[in-house]
Every structure is written in C-alpha cells, then in structure tokens.
Symmetry: C2
Subunit: 439 residues, 2 copies
C-alpha cells in the first residue's frame, strides 16, 4: 500500500498547481487514516489526574492550579504533535500547524478542559484530547493540510465561555472583575493562565478570521445512548431565553375561604406549568420548555398562596421559534388569568443566542461517520458550547458522541472509549473533507 | 311594663314546681332584654391596652405579662357581673353564677383573650367580652337562669388550644415542655396564670359535665362581610387533614432532554394542583382543599425537577367527607402518575377532628338572631376554636359575626361595633332559650 502522507503531499501540490481535478485519492485516504484510539483514551486518563476528586470525578475549575497544570500537560501533547504552542491574550491555549496554501484561513478544532466543581472526565475533555489526537495523527502520518490548522483549548467554558467569547468580542469589561469558583477574578485568572487582562480586547477576532471551526463533544443528554446511535450531527446550539414569572392572587385563610372565593396563585401556577408542558409538546419542532424553580408565598400548608414565583425557560434552534413558543404560552396564560382570577407578569432575565451549524459541515460530518460505518442522528445541542460564540466568526460544526444515561456535570459522567475513538475519527475525517472543500 | 327579672324568677320557680306550662312570658322577655353595646365595645377598647403594638394591633401571646394583666382585668369585670371568679388547674379563668335549679348542669359561654404575635383586637376577644357582657346584663337585670352559668376564658388558644383541650383531656404530658412564643414552656405558663402543671390532668372534665357550651367569635373569613349578613350560624368546626406529598420524576438537563423523554416532577405537581382544585370545586358540599407550599429539587431554571414536595390540606365538616375528597384526589393522582411518568407518595402529618355543632343550638341561634331582625347564614367554621374540644364533653354552638374583608391574625382585623353588639345579643338570646330548653 502506498504511503498516504506521500500521496497527500503530492496530491496537494498537484491541486495547488491546478493539475488534478479528481478527488478519488482523497476518498481513499479518508477511508484508511485513523486516530490512535488507545493513545487518545490513555491521554484522557492522564488528563483526569489534574484535579481528581476522591469519588473519581474532577474539580478542575477555570484558573485553579489543576487547570494550569492540565494546560501545561496539554501543551506538551501539542508539541508532540509537532505544533507551535502559544497562549493568546485571552488565556486560550493554542497549537498551530502551517498549511500548504498560505493564503487560506485556518481551520480550527478544539474544546475546553476546565470543569464544573465536582464534574466528570468527559465534558470538554473528549473534544480537546480528540483535537490533539487528530493533530498528532496528521503529524505522525506527515500529512499536511491545505489550510493552516489551529487546535484551541478555550479557557473558562464552564464559568461563562470566557475564552471563546473573547474571540467573538462578547466579553464585557465588568466581567473581568467577577470572582470565579477558583477564588480568582476572571481578570486574575487570565493573567494566571498566561493571558493579559489589560490587553484583553485585542484577543477579539474579526468575523471571517477562520475557514471554519469544528468541535467534538459528549452529548450531555441521553438521546444517542437511548437510541444506540454512534454519532450526533449537531444541527445547532439552541438559543435560550429565561423569564422570572410572578403569579399574583390573594393570600387567604385556607379554612375560611370557600373554593369559589379563592384567587389562588398556586392554582394559577399549576395551570401554567401544565400549559407550558402541553404547548412545548404540541407545537411542531424540537423546542423544550421547563419550569425548574417555584416558590409560593407565604408558603404554609394552611394559607392560600397570594403569590407564586417561578422560572420559565425555552430553548430552540432559532430565536424566532423560541419567541413563537413564548407567544403561544402568553396566549394561554391570558386564559389562565381569567379562569383562576390571577395575574401573571413575565420578566426576561437571560438570553443566549442560538447558533446554527453550517449546512456543509453537517453534511460532511454525516458523510464522514457513514464512511466509518457509524450510525448518525441529526439533533440540536441543548447545552451551550464554545462553538456558539465562534459561529459569529466563521461556519461551525459539531460532532456528538453518546453520554451513557445522559449524565453530565457529575462524577458519573461516562462515554465509552470506543465512542470517543469513533468521535475523534469523525473529527479527523470531517476535517480532511473540510480541508478539501473549503477555500 | 312589668319587671323582667321579677317575672323570670317567679316563672322559674313555677316551672321548677311544675305549675307553668306556657313559655309565652319567656319569649316576651327575650324580645326586650339586651346587652349594653356601648359598654361592651368600651370594654373591648380597654382590653386592647394589654399588649398593644405601635400599629394598633396586639401581641398578647399566651403566658406573657400582657396575657396575665388582661386576665386580671377580665377577672374584675366578672366580679362586676356578680360572679365568683377562679382559675382552674389548667390555668383557665372562670366566672361562676349559681342557677335556680341546683341539679342542672352548668351552661358555659366564653372564648379566649390570648392572641397570635402581632395579632388583632377581635379574635377571641369579642366572644370573651361578649360572654362577660351577657353575664353582666343578667346580673344588672337580676335575672337568674335555671342552670348554673360559667363564663370561661380559655388559656393559650392560639398556641394549641391548651385550656380547652385540658378540659377534654387531650393535652399530652410532653406538651407541657413545649416552649411558647412567650418564652415560657406551657407548663411554666400554666403556673404563671395560676394553674398547676403538676395536677394538670385533674383539670379534665368527664363527658356530660355541662349542659352546653356556646361561643361567640368573629368569622375570620369574608363570607358574612361579602354577603352583608349579620350572623353566622356555625354548622360545625371543620376537620383538617394535612399530607406531605412527594412527587418523584427524574432530574435532567433542561436543554438536552427532549420533551418526550422527560419525567418532570414539576409537571406532575402542576397537574396535581389543578386536579385538587377541580375536585374540591366539583364535589358537592363545602369542602376546601389547598396546596399552600411547594418546593422543587434541585430547583434551578435549567434543570428538570426530579422531585417536588408539596403540602395538601383538606377541610370539611366531617372526617368521612374529608376522606372522600382525599380518595377522589388519589384516584386522579394515579392517572397523573401514568400521564407524567412520575410517582406520588402521601404522608399524613396532621389531623384535627371535625366538631359538628348541636342541631338544637343551631336552631336557637338562628331563632334568636331572627327575633332581633338579624339576617343569618348557616356556615362551617373553617378555622379551629375552643368549641372543638368542648364538643367532646357536651353539645356546643357557635355564633359568628362578620370580619371586615375577612382579615384575621393581623392588626387590620376589624369587626364593626354594631356587629359585636348584635353578636352579644344573639349570645344572650340563645343562652336564655337554651336555659329554657335544656335539662
């Protein structure tokens, strides 16, 4: 069998000089080049040492010593992959590899390695080490891409996506003063990781700075696991809107107030909860709506609640469809107000912009998975990711691998080694196809 | 016009000796004898000095100095009414008046004068001072009853009906150690008021110790006020059962869990709340059912609640009908469990026995009110009262007067002076009729 990297190099040169029109040799190479799954899973085990907790999980919160130590460990792996390593002004860890065509924009792959307190060993880490392994595989195969390649380990994903939002210019100055779980402010943390909070704004990138961004991540949900599907082709990262809802009735004695004289805020809230659930299920699409928190006042078994406060959250792939679900809920709420003689107010307190993935990226992820005989499902990402901010700068794609039982942000978080290897191979295959397809 | 009290005495003697069969003169006397409304309302104003708060309410919690001072004040009023005053072993304040027929059991009227912290000037106090005024009116008119008359000011109604429950033998020994809002234990408080906690059990009465017990009270609800009705004829004091209800679903990520995969304990709870309300309204009768408290776990806007804890309270005039409402709720809950894929558990943690009033008492209260051209409504008492325990010992009756806007346990508690006078006149009229009717 001919040497893949030799062929690749020859072919790329040929392509650059306009001599070759057929893509046949690419397809052949995609069918043969694989990451080293054993090495990848071993590196994940190595990474799990940094911030390990007694129950087998990790507390590697951003800006902690464990976070810095882990980043130094990953820096070594990036160098082993032949990359030039740097830390940018925002404190993100970067590995760079030149491309064959100097005029092309970089392709970026990566994720994050910081965790929530008492988190698990897979969230962010699978995508980060998967990207490192892809770079190492290219290096070992001496296979050069047309595009420059950047591996990025974003900082403080769990505490507010600071690193990726720095690239998209979304971090506000005041955020640098926020005290994080590490005990340091974000500003202090950036300096701790090797960035410069005083020149933070210079970390921002112009839209169009990259050819594309591709992120491998665990699903953090149970859909793939329950349906025994290998690869999730992410349609986009859902937008989120949250409201504080106040239901006002009239507090009264639960013994002396007949049912017909009641203006029971809890009954209004109960009707609202069931209406939210019914509307989210009934409307076409895959929107989700949740009432996760509720408090009744005064909150005693023998007093009719005069006020109930609750949270409403709606997520969907576009902000327009979130607004449609919200409008349907508001229409239904007006009926509930009349039926229960209560009044509702809605105060929106949180918005996270929806970030659709690029249609071409989705098609190539799907194609790469199928070339590996892996089953795929096109699905939204209900959780937020760094890709969300990077979508402001360039087309993005995401690859999901199954989370066993959908558990995440917990020491019980688990993704099978073979699924991790599959995900990294899809990352590699998609990257190679993107390298071919994008200019 | 002949002197009422002379006639009464002559008539009673005649009745005792079997010489008189007609009741005509009684009716005549009932139509003319009235309490002194001005004096009654002035005494209520005097009483309001004890424990007065800056906002015009009172904090006269049981066993406080204000409570003791107020009881000494009332003792003086009882003496002014010609009564023998004593404090029983349970610390209840008593005024005694002999009857014409020594073999008859006493008729008892009264209520309580202790308040909740930051309470108002009417709850318990209207019935207490109304009873004192009735005794004073009889005394001023030199009108002797056939039965002995006892005016009772029960102790610690608000903190657990200790005084009246002592009579019915329901107070458990351990309760004497409970620390009350006064800072004293119930045992210390009993001693403070002149009772003897070491001989507390001897305060209990045998069933059949009294001919009857009649209590005037403010409604503590808005029914009479809203409907502009003068007098509530109490059908009984409702029984109460309370449950802690736990709804169990599965906590999950509110973004990554599709609607169809959810086992949302909040949705189960919402369906339950609306079902409780629907069932309580739909079933015949005047039962009330309330969910006054609710807590969701983990209780974050972005997490599907895995568990919801809430309170269920049902009140009705009989324990059987409470159980019927509960059974209907349980049947409906089984449907909710299936629909929402949640499970419910019910833990009953409180029972208060229903205490129906005596049918004859109700008829005489109604008759006495109508003889005074007062409108009446037969209604349950949704709140608990001392009469509840005394119902274990003898037939009981209760007279309600309107609470403006139904406000109670608050400095804003208010009952109009004319309604207080009406209530005392109905108490007087009913007492006189009971004295005639009962043996």
């Amino acid at each position: 069998m001919f040497k893949v990297h030799m062929h690749r190099r020859q072919f790329s040169v040929a392509l650059a000089t306009g001599l070759v029109g057929s893509v046949f040799p690419w397809r052949l190479r995609q069918g043969t080049l694989r990451v080293n799954g054993d090495r990848l899973n071993e590196r994940l085990t190595d990474l799990a040492r940094y911030g390990r907790t007694p129950d087998g999980g990790i507390s590697r919160v951003a800006y902690s010593q464990a976070d810095l130590d882990a980043r130094l460990f990953v820096s070594g792996l990036l160098r082993d992959a032949g990359m030039n390593v740097s830390v940018d002004l925002a404190g993100n860890l970067l590995g760079h590899r030149v491309g064959l065509e100097p005029d092309l924009l970089p392709l970026v792959i990566g994720s994050h390695i910081d965790s929530v307190p008492d988190g698990g060993n897979y969230d962010g880490q699978v995508g980060s080490m998967g990207a490192v392994e892809v770079a190492r595989t290219l290096h070992d195969a001496s296979l050069d891409l047309r595009h420059p390649l950047t591996v990025v380990i974003f900082q403080n994903e769990e505490g507010g996506k600071t690193g990726s939002r720095a690239w998209s210019g979304e971090v506000e100055q005041r955020e640098l003063g926020i005290v994080t779980a590490s005990g340091k402010t974000i500003g202090e943390g950036i300096r701790f990781l090797g960035g410069d909070p005083d020149r933070f704004d210079d970390a921002a990138k112009e839209p169009g700075s990259f050819a594309g961004y591709l992120e491998l991540h665990i699903e953090q949900g149970a859909i793939l696991d329950q349906r025994s599907i290998d690869i999730g082709v992410v349609e986009g990262i859902v937008g989120i809107k949250r409201w504080n809802v106040v239901v006002t009735g009239m507090a009264n004695h639960a013994g002396t107030t007949p049912m017909s004289d009641r203006r029971d805020a809890m009954v209004g809230a109960g009707s609202f909860i069931t209406a939210v659930n019914r509307i989210a299920r009934r409307l076409p699409g895959r929107q989700v709506a949740t009432v996760g928190w509720l408090e009744a006042f005064p909150g005693a078994p023998n007093v009719i609640p005069g006020e109930v406060r609750l949270s409403l959250e709606i997520r969907d792939l576009t902000m327009e469809s979130i607004d449609q679900v919200y409008e349907a809920i508001r229409v239904e709420t007006r009926v509930i107000e009349q039926q229960t003689e209560t009044t509702f107010t809605f105060d929106q307190f949180y918005v996270s912009r929806a970030a659709p993935t690029d249609e071409r990226f989705r098609a190539l992820v799907d194609q790469s998975a199928k070339a590996l005989n892996l089953s795929t499902l096109h699905m939204p990402s209900g959780a937020g990711h760094d890709a969300q901010s990077i979508a402001l700068l360039c087309p993005v794609g995401m690859v999901f691998v199954p989370s066993v039982n959908g558990v995440s942000h917990s020491p019980e978080e688990f993704t099978r080694p073979e699924d991790i290897t599959n995900g990294a191979n899809v990352l590699l295959g998609t990257l190679l196809q993107l390298d071919e397809a994008l200019n």
